[in-house]
């Protein structure tokens, strides 16, 4: 792609599409657009500047995502792109797209519930099993294989499953 042929609006649209297609290295069915991590893309003298919001403070995937965005833009002809991380407003699972929730479920991870339920002390969440749909489930551990997931088990089909925690 020859960058010089496009105006800033077209470049921005293209850069957004490229950045939006980058996937989460831990959950490769989700793009960073599905996750709500991608906040903004601007064009400055032909260079793309992408703004993302971290999910969890210590999420190691954020470094990987930053690198993947830069590489994806480089492949599409954007030189010297920058990725900026902004903390505010703080990321919430409410930003996850409906399409993202569906893809998560199909991947075997129960999608997050509305974030308002997260403050319930001594867990009263009802999470449907992504395998069989039963809501007769129980939490095994609120801390799972990554910072964003909890470990649950379905009492109907007996399958353990990951639940994307609301945040």
């Amino acid at each position: 792609m020859v960058i010089a042929m496009f105006n800033d609006a077209e470049l921005r649209k293209r850069a957004w599409e490229v950045a939006a297609s980058v996937v989460d290295p831990e959950i490769p069915v989700l793009t960073i657009a599905d996750l709500g991590v991608l906040r903004d893309v601007t064009i400055n003298e032909g260079r793309a500047e992408v703004t993302i919001t971290p999910t969890y403070s210590g999420c190691p995937a954020m470094n990987m995502i930053t690198l993947e965005i830069e590489l994806a833009l480089e492949r599409e002809g954007f030189r010297d792109s920058k990725v900026r991380t902004v903390l505010s407003p703080a990321w919430t699972t409410d930003w996850m797209s409906e399409d993202g929730c569906r893809k998560l479920r199909e991947y075997g991870i129960a999608p997050p519930q509305a974030a308002s339920s997260r403050r319930a002390l001594f867990g009263v969440e009802q999470v449907a099993c992504p395998q069989c749909g039963s809501t007769d489930t129980e939490v095994l551990s609120e801390f799972g294989s990554t910072a964003c997931k909890a470990l649950w088990r379905c009492k109907t089909c007996r399958e353990p499953f990951d639940y994307f925690k609301c945040h």
């Binding site: 969890y56 403070s57 997260r118 801390f143």
Partner: protein, 258 residues
């Protein structure tokens, strides 16, 4: 020869930010020491997860302190190239893990405070601290729930777990007063609307702690004497040992990277 320590220009806001960053790093490091040693796999993952949350908070706070200071220091230099006396974390957080009950009581005392603190700090007049608070409070809600459940389970469990949890409460209680300590520099930040007066958090902290401890059939000590020193760099012997492990690579191979 070992790398010398950095100099830090401690303006009140730099110091305030570093104190909270040190809290997160030191407690996060303590939790990481459980990795591979926890009583069961789920708990191993939980402790590592919470340690990771705290490490993330520490990184954001150190980076902000570096930006405020503007002297070329960064998150790594703050973590790896300061001596014991330059660390300003709460004494509670550097205490040894001990048995699982002791780790959970330490976690419980601090998580309940941190949760109230970060929620209040979301209204800080300092935009960056408010943003870090908005992220951290979501994580601390999980930390509170996790440790509260364990306090109840341990206290209302067997004689053995009850006894260990009660001993941990009695031993660590004297370190809780420091969470509510304020010096002149912080007082000015509180008056400027940047910092939260921890005294305003104390009633709710005590209420939550008392309720959970009571549900766990445990009791809080009556002693009013509280140990202080961490905020001004006077630490227990445990922090030096922790730092010698945390910093050994950078002190031995200055500037080494992966």
């Amino acid at each position: 020869m070992a790398t010398p320590s950095i100099h830090v220009s401690e303006t009140p806001l730099v110091l305030y930010t570093l104190r909270r960053a040190d809290d997160a790093l030191i407690l996060g490091h303590r939790l990481s020491e459980w990795c591979g040693h926890a009583p069961m796999l789920e708990e191993d993952m939980a402790l590592a997860n919470m340690g990771l949350d705290l490490l993330g908070q520490a990184r954001e706070l150190y980076s902000y302190a570096a930006q405020l200071e503007g002297k070329g220091n960064d998150e790594d230099k703050f973590a790896y190239l300061r001596d014991v006396r330059q660390y300003r974390n709460l004494l509670l957080l550097e205490q040894l893990n001990g048995d699982f009950a002791r780790t959970m009581v330490r976690q419980f005392f601090h998580a309940v405070f941190a949760d109230l603190y970060w929620r209040a700090m979301m209204k800080s007049g300092d935009a960056t601290l408010a943003a870090i608070a908005a992220k951290s409070e979501k994580e601390s809600a999980y930390h509170v729930r996790h440790s509260s459940e364990w306090i109840v389970r341990l206290g209302d469990g067997t004689d053995e777990s009850h006894g260990r949890a009660q001993t941990a409460i009695d031993d660590l209680w004297a370190f809780t007063g420091e969470m509510f300590e304020v010096d002149d520099g912080e007082r000015a930040l509180i008056e400027a609307g940047i910092a939260v007066d921890p005294e305003t958090l104390r009633p709710q902290w005590l209420k939550t702690i008392s309720e959970i401890v009571s549900e766990a059939t445990l009791s809080l000590p009556k002693s009013g004497w509280m140990q202080q020193g961490g905020r001004s760099g006077r630490h227990s012997e445990h922090l030096g040992h922790l730092l010698s492990e945390l910093q050994s690579m950078q002190r031995t191979f200055p500037g080494g990277t992966w």
